[in-house]
Amino acid sequence: MPTTRKAFAKDGALATAIQGFAPREAQIQMAEAVEQAIAKKGQLVVEAGTGTGKTFAYLVPSLLSGKKVILSTGTKNLQEQLYHRDLPLVKKALAMGGKTQLLKGRANYLCIHRLAQHGGNSTLVDKTVLHELTLVREWASSTKTGDMGELRSLPEDARVLPFVTSTVDNCLGKDCPNYEDCYLVKARRNAMDADLVVVNHHLFFADMALKDTGFGELIPEADVIVFDEAHQIPEIASEYFGEALSSRQLQDLATDMDLVYRTSLKDAQQLSKVAEKLKMIAMDLRLLFPETPQRGNWREQLLRDEVDAQVQKLKETLELVYEVLKLHLGRDKDLDNLYERAAEARSKLNKLTDKDKLGISLWYETTPRHIVLHLTPLSIAGRFAEMIAEPRRSWIFTSATLLVGDGFEHFTRRLGLNDAATLALDSPFDYPSQAILCVPRYLPEPSAFTMKATLADIAVKLINASKGRCFLLFTSHAMMNDIAAMLPERITNPILVQGTTSKRALLEAYMDDGDAVLLGTGAFWEGVDVRGEHLVCVLIDKLPFASPDDPLLQARIEDCRKRGGNPFAQIQIPQAVITLKQGAGRLIRDASDKGVLVICDNRLVTRDYGKTFISSLPDMRRTRTLDEALAFLEHISQESSEP
């Protein structure tokens, strides 16, 4: 069996089998570090700059180790890329057999039971949904995997999806009449048998925190766990180590109770009545909050008399629901499941209304129609460290953005990774000649009212110089929409704005147009890979500090202060640095890419902490002269228009 170094050698397995593969020292270094961590059952944290080739660097030693491996990445898209593109390539090059499996979250698999429920007695009336249901039914008779992603004719956010997939809440588990044919169960069984499983972080942590029963067997079996896009882990892990309950969940519970009454327990009208009451009271809680969606401190809200009174009503009603369901226990599988859900909701609501518990943040968020209550632990370091200590196995965390300045502490501290080996690998790109970082002069202060007009002016100049081919990345929806409204009368390029259609559709349109401008917030700062001359300019409106109004952030800041720490340096700056690195990382994706990054926030120049940001970004040539950046863009445009 070839060793990792041999596989990466000039005449090695990868170079022989993969066209255009050239060995790179940084990549080999990472692969060997991963190999060692696997051999020693160690913990390894690696930042690998864009272009290092980190995917191969963890795939090769993982496959060669012959151990059972779980690979977890950030999104479904990345999962598919890894599973359908990179993994087959490396497997073939190494001539490794080995079973591999792609495992997605529950919501991606067709639920045969739910589909049948919406058969003859369907309570669905909406025409679009009924049409989508027909599509699903046709496809259901032929699919082998039940992966909804196969059904390309269905929009990503099709409204039928919740009716034909299951949730942890409504899944009957082993009691389901369709258990043996269940696609989710099959996918999980395959995953259990596989040598290498590709999952995503949400799925991984749902399993780790035992938030999704029936899957808990997978992780204990694994010898090696690799997290790509590992910078997302602290946030996602915190979420899963906490609790959440939404008015939507309660409404769904009520709807499903009504469905049981209408389809099977037709004598139990009481079910329908208490369900109706639950729905009303949950909605009334939402009505105590302003119409516009917001986030806030739930502990404080509980001090409001009307909120407290409504919560008491909700508790009483849930109790009633619970008692009614209990009366009919054993008569129907779906009802038995509803009973468990009601019990669970009851216990969650108690935890979410316990004002005196320490070490957690209680917060809420509202959507146009619903309210979600959250309990999030302020620190997961202890729990996480405990979970990865026993049994001993290999844990590898990698991402292009883990370092803040030259330290990993803000990452390792949050996860309690005190003994992890760390490795920082520079990108092989020649940033000083490939890219310019410009912070224009005489910008208004970031929160000044005049910033909007200034941003629009700069954007127009950039778009003209780069002939479109720009991403304008924003830290707020409000600013994005304002600029989106100002641009059409000043430029003729196609303007694509996040939120008008799906991310995938926007990116496809962007690539097709060739001279478009894309305006995005959060979702476009990460995981977008546009190589070559399609993207030559990225504008960022502001340093991406998290909103200080965020209740969870406030709680963390308060906690840090109580411990004598400096929350700005320890929490807010690292978070903003990682986000900025992600956004900036959209620009140069390849050794031949060129481009300009413009950050319209003079705090990079005027504040002490500018140093931390600059030292964390790739080593681009810096200027404050916008004209120089424009000239560079014009130069690139000329180059690319030459034959």
């Binding site: 002069r441 005027t606 504040r607 200027t623 404050r624």
Partner: protein, 150 residues
């Protein structure tokens, strides 16, 4: 009364930059590191922007937070770059790149100035030297290479 230090430059260029500008940046970096707020006063806006550019391009280890007059936070930054006629805030240290004796020179604790290698500029520097002395400041001259490298 200020302590006025004139640096004698024997080259017109330093690190491929006009020598006074390059040295002004070094002095500004030194002042920042010793927690002394300073004002860099330039001949005109164009020169001020050139100094801004040089400071911004310093190696990241030598990062110096700064602002041009007309930008930056209300409280100011450790290094303000101004030009003749632009408003400026109170700082104890002045680094002078302007050809004329700066207005309000009495209020600084310490002033750095330059005697460039260029003949015409040298002449202007002599003129300033006399005027500083006439105003009663305490004067000193030093070779340019006595400024530490960043």
């Amino acid at each position: 009364m200020a302590e006025v230090i004139f640096y004698l430059l024997d080259e017109e260029q330093n690190d491929a930059q006009p020598a006074p500008l390059a040295l002004a940046c070094r002095l500004a970096a030194q002042a920042y590191r010793s927690k002394q707020a300073c004002l860099v006063l330039c001949e005109d806006k164009q020169q001020a922007e050139a100094v801004d550019e040089l400071l911004w391009q310093l190696p990241v280890d030598a990062f110096v937070p700064h602002n041009l007059t007309g930008e930056g936070p209300p409280k100011g930054t450790p290094v303000e770059i101004a030009w003749q006629g632009s408003s400026r805030s109170n700082k104890p240290v002045l680094i002078n790149l302007a050809s004329q004796l700066p207005e309000g020179h009495q209020r600084f604790k310490r002033i750095f100035d330059f005697v460039p290698a260029d003949d015409q500029q040298k002449q202007q520097a002599r003129e300033r030297y006399k005027q500083y002395r006439g105003a009663g400041h305490q004067l000193d001259t030093r070779p340019a290479n006595s400024i530490e490298e960043n």
